[in-house]
């Protein structure tokens, strides 16, 4: 085995050790195993949110898109760069408060409790299980492809090693293992892309890149894609921006991060960390795809543009770093998706409908078993039939986003949104995206499937909420409370003695500790 393979194996062992360190804490209760006992700080929240959001797509699908379409692909990056800020700002605080108020441990359980209907949970579970698993299988395929190319292992062997490590630490350490391994992986992803980009720009300067792209095909520089494929189709462009700008608010495994934050104060810090990380990471893989057009003109598989660039132009230690960064992206998303799938199966299906009286110990065991089974089925499917990573990721992401974005946002912002609206929004959004993609309506209408799904989901929520039982008074009150402190009357605001601010902070803390002690006793 080469030195890069050894570095990578050490990296996998470190991740497994971190995961196993959390085994004991994870076993304390379902709250510990599924949400880390709602105690995750700002930096860890931001890193786990971002590294779970940025999957193998960022090292394979994204650069491939840029390799095929030129600068048009950057529309996706522009949306993605602001995605975390939008996600945390819109949902962060309110969802943290609301989920705790409703005692919801999974994002699907949250939907049932908020919309006061078991049917919402049934439909949400079905949609999320199918498309989370499709999403996770795409990650497994990416892991297998990357490891095969970079280590020389067979595809099957590579899959078993890569996915095996993810399954072991997720099953053992639960949510906290996922969070802290994601944290490490988030750092490696940034170091990896920054290192490769510095060396890539040594081979070709930014101005040379555009000049050479223009000499190959001037439409690579167009905002409408190669050969002006999307010329004038603003519906496609807006969809491309929106999918990653707002889409994360509909992904159950990302939304869980709001529920596990230490407190609402965590949101502000998490936004800062996530925004900084995003700007360092997101644009580079796409630009490397553009560099691939010039430096790798005969590349047969566009998804391998970054691995090929690294191995041809900067071998040695950087190759090992790249391998770790690609696997970090894949693994950090896969573990979160697997964790989410396991949570939904155990909490939303088993504990809710099959064995409501299951003990806490049994609930944790079932979660672990579900994750293990999900991982094994994933390996089998990925070996059996590997489709393109990019297509599967965009499709699953789009369907999940279109199903859940509107219900999640409405759950904390609208007192009128009810279960009928939520069901219409989920089914309408998912069906539209599936039909739009499979029947290729994008070409005929000039509207991106995500944009179409979002519009239908929104209309479904508005019209559906006119029918059926209105939200209870208790729920309306909870929505009001989730908004946080209400603004003070202006005459009161003017008379606040701001020099008492340190006393106010310290007294707040004293009172909080006091109520905690009372609760414990």
């Amino acid at each position: 085995m080469d030195s890069d393979g050894i570095v990578f194996i050490i990296y996998l062992l470190v991740l497994m050790t971190v995961g196993l360190l959390f085994t004991r804490r994870a076993s304390q209760s379902p709250d510990h195993y599924l949400l880390g006992n709602r105690g995750v700080g700002a930096c860890a929240t931001a890193m786990t949110m971002q590294s779970s959001s940025m999957s193998g797509y960022m090292f394979m699908g994204g650069p491939a898109l840029a390799f095929q379409h030129g600068w048009y692909a950057l529309w996706y990056a522009i949306g993605d760069a602001g995605g975390a800020i939008v996600n945390l700002s819109v949902l962060g605080k309110r969802m943290r408060r609301m989920s705790e108020k409703l005692s919801a441990l999974s994002p699907i359980e949250y939907l049932e409790k908020r919309f006061e209907s078991p049917m919402v949970r049934v439909i949400a579970s079905i949609i999320s299980i199918i498309f989370i698993l499709a999403y996770v299988f795409a990650q497994f395929i990416a892991a297998g492809k990357a490891l095969t190319q970079l280590t020389g292992f067979s595809y099957e062997m590579a899959l078993i090693i890569g996915v095996g490590v993810i399954v072991i630490y997720t099953v053992a350490g639960g949510y906290l293992a996922v969070v802290y391994t994601d944290f490490i992986q988030g750092i490696i992803m940034v170091i990896g892309v920054l290192g490769i980009s510095i060396l890539a720009f040594n081979h070709i300067s930014f101005s040379d890149l555009n000049a050479q792209l223009a000499s190959i095909d001037s439409t690579y520089l167009s905002i409408w894609g190669k050969d002006l494929a999307y010329y004038g189709q603003w519906g496609v462009v807006i969809g491309a921006i929106l999918i990653y700008l707002v889409g994360y608010m509909g992904l159950p495994h990302v939304v869980t991060r709001h529920m596990s934050m230490k407190s609402t104060k965590t949101v502000k810090g998490a936004i800062m960390w996530a925004a900084t990380w995003n700007q360092l990471f997101i644009f580079i893989p796409y630009v490397l795809g553009l560099i691939g057009i010039v430096l790798l003109p005969n590349l047969s598989d566009p998804e391998m543009v970054i691995p090929e660039l690294t191995y041809q132009f900067f071998p040695g230690f950087l190759a090992a770093l790249l391998l770790s960064a690609i696997m970090a992206a894949i693994m950090s998303t896969s573990d979160s998706l697997l964790m989410q799938a396991g949570t939904i199966l155990s909490r939303d299906v088993y504990q809710r409908f099959i064995n409501p009286n299951a003990s806490e110990k049994k609930a944790v065991l079932v979660s672990r078993l579900c994750i293990l089974i999900g991982g094994l089925v994933g390996i089998a499917i990925a070996i059996y039939e590997p489709p393109a990573v990019a297509a599967l990721v965009i499709f699953s992401f789009g369907v999940l986003g279109n199903s859940f974005l509107v219900p999640y946002v409405a759950s904390v912002y609208s007192k009128k949104a009810n279960h009928v609206g939520a069901i219409c929004a989920m089914i309408g959004g998912a069906t539209t995206n599936i039909l739009w993609t499979t029947l290729e309506f994008e070409g005929a209408t000039g509207v991106h499937p995500f944009l179409a799904g979002l519009i239908v989901s929104f209309i479904g929520m508005v019209i559906g909420s006119q029918f059926g039982k209105k939200p209870s008074d208790k729920m309306k009150e909870a929505i009001d409370d989730s908004k946080g402190k209400k603004a003070l009357p202006s005459k009161m605001e003017k008379r606040i003695a701001h020099d008492l601010s340190p006393e106010s902070n310290n007294i707040s803390e004293f009172l909080a500790n006091q109520s905690l002690t009372t609760l414990k006793s």
Binding site: K491, L500, P502, E503, S504, L511
Partner: protein, 158 residues
């Protein structure tokens, strides 16, 4: 556990504190939750500077015993002894020594800025007492405030 402590006498009673907040926000229904005693250290030094003319005098300040913030004080406050239980008083974080040291540093900063002495002043400690200041906790469904039991000034709780 209850022990006797130096406490500043409150001049704002619970009804007045409540009235103050209610008069500014009539939409919410406020009630008094409790009274909390907040720790400060009163520190006084005799300061002497030898320049062409010898200058001397007394300087006093209070140190917030949790966050360490200093405030100048004109005269020594009047305390009375009161039994306080653990639930109503906040435990100081700073030690007496730390507070006294911090007071000197504070005076040095102030005198350096205002008096521009050429020689270094000499400080000798004349008084140092831990005391507690009362704050009323007033809350409604949506907001919570502290109201200073002496001045009636208020601040929302975070």
């Amino acid at each position: 556990m209850t022990t006797e402590f130096n406490v500043l006498p409150h001049s704002i009673r619970s009804k007045e504190a409540l009235q103050k907040i209610t008069s500014l926000d009539r939409k919410n229904n406020y009630t008094i939750d409790q009274k909390v005693f907040y720790p400060y250290q009163f520190v006084s030094y005799h300061i002497k500077v030898k320049t062409f003319l010898v200058k001397e005098g007394y300087l006093g300040c209070t140190i917030d015993m949790i966050s360490g913030r200093e405030s100048v004080i004109d005269s020594k406050p009047t305390f009375f002894k009161k039994t306080l239980c653990k639930k109503e008083r906040i435990q100081p974080v700073l030690t007496r020594e730390k507070a006294e040291k911090q007071a000197i540093q504070y005076f040095q900063r102030q005198t350096a800025k205002r008096l521009k002495f050429l020689a270094l002043p000499r400080y000798s400690l004349t008084d140092s007492h831990l005391f507690y200041r009362p704050y009323w906790i007033i809350s409604s469904k949506n907001h919570r405030f502290i109201v200073d039991g002496l001045s009636g000034r208020f601040h929302p709780l975070t």
